[in-house]
């Protein structure tokens, strides 16, 4: 479904990704772990099409299509979704209105009829129940005045409505207490399907107690330095990220100075 090859990317002139290789099959959940500054969020942003990040080498394909030259909105219409680490607030635009507009753009691109406000309302209620969000959030401006947990849940709601083929969850656990974390994870688990792949970016193993990944990758200094099954997350938790430094090939460590 997604194939990343030797991906290098810069932000503001600094090289953050230094050759990422990753293959994700349909229905698989891949966790990407790593310490702060390892490039986890950069990878999420690059995949979803943020033009503030410049790809300098390598690239990626999604469903066999080259995404590199594709604007963010077209990637979204193709089925790429990112749950933001820091969702923005949009004053004056209700959640329902925002999501209806987004969903209809995606539907149009697939030659499907647009949903009218009533049809959308029904769909939204169903999805809100799925991710345990109060219906009153439908008419509140997007993320405005939402707590940290509410913002993260709202991202999962958007995923439920837009039904992407590839969902990238960028630190959807950060800033959440254990109850909020469980709600977010439950929502994500309900959306797992054989047709939907997920990349779960996280700093902590904690989230992976609730969203059980098929694969775990460790990103360090812009490269994936170790991959394994779900047990790798536990090993990392026990040994800490310093353990990774000992594992990486000599050449990688050296060019970091």
């Amino acid at each position: 479904m997604l194939e990343i090859t030797n991906l290098h990317a810069n932000v503001e002139g600094n090289e953050i990704l230094r050759g990422v290789d990753l293959k994700i099959g349909a229905g698989e959940v891949h966790a990407i772990m790593g310490p702060n500054g390892s490039g986890k969020s950069t990878l999420a942003q690059v995949l979803s099409g943020n033009e503030a990040y410049e790809v300098t080498e390598g690239g990626f394909t999604f469903l066999g299509q080259d995404l590199l030259e594709m604007p963010a909105e077209e990637r979204a219409r193709l089925g790429v979704f990112m749950a933001f680490q820091y969702p923005v607030e949009i004053p004056g635009i209700s959640n329902a209105y925002f999501l209806q507009a987004g969903l209809n753009e995606i539907r149009k691109s697939h030659g499907l009829d647009e949903l009218d406000a009533l049809e959308f309302r029904d769909l939204l209620k169903e999805k809100m129940d799925l991710v345990a969000i109060d219906h009153k959030f439908a008419d509140r401006p997007v993320n405005e005045g939402f707590s940290g947990g509410e913002k993260k849940r709202n991202e999962i709601l958007q995923m439920a409505v837009l039904e992407p083929k590839l969902a990238i969850l960028d630190e959807s656990d950060s800033g959440l207490d254990i109850d909020a974390l469980r709600i977010v994870a439950d929502g994500v688990n309900r959306l797992r399907s054989p047709q939907r792949s997920m990349i779960v970016v996280t700093h902590y193993q904690r989230l992976l107690d609730y969203i059980i990944p098929d694969f775990v990758h460790v990103l360090w200094r812009g490269r994936i330095v170790k991959s394994g099954g779900k047990e790798l997350a536990l090993e990392l938790e026990a040994k800490g990220y310093d353990w990774i430094k000992e594992l990486v090939p000599a050449g990688v460590a050296e060019d970091e100075g």
Partner: protein
């Protein structure tokens, strides 16, 4: 820019119309008119050498020989006025066509003291005489003086002590489009006695969006102890119209005004509001929204005078500027030495949709008391990229994101409007203007 030798010519058409004014009003009214006619003849016409008009070029108004009708023309039909009504029979509605009261088109519920000013000058002399032309704070400009010199029609509303007017009072000013280059000088006087409550909606519209005319309005508002006024002003004039207005508000102890001023259409709009907080614990909230396009010029000069302690004031104006339009905002707050514990805040936020649009915004704080809290802020910009990106990751184009962000920005003001009919009509205007949904 007009130099002084042109000034005489620019005043000529107004002055010749003034000569025609054969007022039938009482002597005290005549004396006000005469003294302000003399003032108008004396005063320098607004020009960009004056600080208050530095960014607001009104020479197009002065270059056009606008003529003031001295008496009403043929009555307008219901058809002309109907689209601009709010369709709620509970409302009082005072309709003015081309500056003159149209009694047959107006509706005044029994029990409400509301009529046109011409009638009030005769019937309500005891309330009008002590207040009329006395609320104009600070130095009157030549246009204010001109309005007073022509003083003959406009709205008069008097809400008696502790009365609560149950539904909004709509002051509807319609330009019929029947005459070109006409000027009108509406003069309004609103009085709320102690403990009274009322909502006034003032709208300015035109039956012909291409008509060229000049509205030069002055409104005086006196809000008595603990009385509260909700005031909405909607400027939806023709695309060629000029609209200059000054509203002067005096608030007594514990009184409050909540004002919304919305500038939609009109070639040049200057909607000045001056509030005098003249009793302890008075509150003034002035909010506004201007949506400029084409070559529109919209100026919102606000001045708040804190004359007594423990008063609060809030100024919050937002603007969306497109094309080559120009907007001006100034928020002047003057705090007297005795006005301790003043709490005054202002914020002017602007969204620029075009590189050719310009905004001149300036706060001006003059504070002579030492125990006060006064803040001010202004923003100018485009929607941040990270917001636009968020929309795009949800499948929406950049154009759609900008449309929705602009709609949201403007609607945030409209949303706060408490009168459903007004809010809904404005929401539609904002939606249609920024078309967040393509097609």
């Amino acid at each position: 820019m007009s130099d002084s030798k042109n000034t005489a010519n620019e005043k000529a058409s107004f002055l010749s119309d003034l000569d025609q004014l054969r007022t039938v009003h009482p002597a005290w009214v005549k004396s006000i008119q005469t003294s302000y006619a003399a003032k108008f003849a004396e005063l320098e016409l607004p020009n960009r050498r004056m600080e208050e008009w530095r960014f607001t070029n009104v020479s197009p108004i002065l270059r056009t020989s606008f003529r003031t009708a001295i008496s009403p023309g043929a009555p307008a039909t219901e058809e002309t006025v109907a689209p601009f009504r709010y369709g709620n029979a509970a409302w009082a509605e005072l309709v003015f066509v081309d500056g003159f009261f149209a009694a047959s088109l107006s509706r005044i519920p029994s029990g409400l003291i509301a009529c046109n000013l011409a009638e009030a000058l005769e019937k309500h002399t005891d309330r009008v005489e002590p207040l009329l032309a006395k609320q104009v704070n600070g130095t009157a400009n030549a246009f204010n003086a001109l309005n007073t010199a022509f003083l003959q029609d406009g709205a008069f509303v008097h809400v008696t002590a502790d009365a609560v007017v149950p539904a909004p009072i709509h002051l509807l000013y319609v330009n019929s489009g029947r005459s070109t280059d006409s000027a009108s000088h509406p003069r309004n006087l609103l009085i709320l006695d102690r403990g009274a409550k009322a909502t006034v909606v003032e709208s300015h519209v035109s039956a012909d969006m291409g008509a060229r005319y000049f509205t030069n309005a002055v409104t005086e508002i006196v809000i008595g102890e603990n009385a509260a006024l909700h005031a909405y002003k909607l400027i939806n004039d023709s695309n060629e119209a000029y609209h200059l207005a000054s509203t002067h508000v005096r608030l007594e102890r514990g009184a409050s005004i909540n004002s919304f001023a919305i500038s939609q259409t009109g070639k040049i709009i200057r909607n000045e509001i001056k509030t005098l907080l003249d009793g302890e614990g008075a509150h003034s909230s002035l909010k506004g929204l201007y949506m400029t396009r084409g070559e529109q010029l919209v100026d919102n000069p606000i001045a708040i005078e804190h004359a007594k302690p423990h008063c609060t004031s809030w100024i919050g104006y937002k603007g969306v500027l497109d094309d080559k339009s120009h907007a001006v905002f100034s928020g002047k707050v003057y705090v007297h030495r005795v006005a301790q514990k003043t709490d005054s805040n202002q914020l002017n936020q602007n969204m620029l949709l075009s590189d050719k649009a310009t905004i001149d915004t300036k706060p001006l704080l003059e504070i002579f008391a030492d125990d006060v809290k006064c803040t001010h802020g202004a923003t100018v910009g485009r929607p941040p990229e990270e917001l636009v990106f968020y929309f795009r990751t949800r499948g929406m184009s950049e154009a759609m994101a900008l449309g929705m962000l602009t709609y949201g920005f403007a609607d945030e003001v409209v949303n706060q409007i408490g009168v459903d009919e007004v809010r809904e009509r404005l929401e539609k205007f904002v939606f249609d203007t920024y078309s967040p949904i393509p097609g």
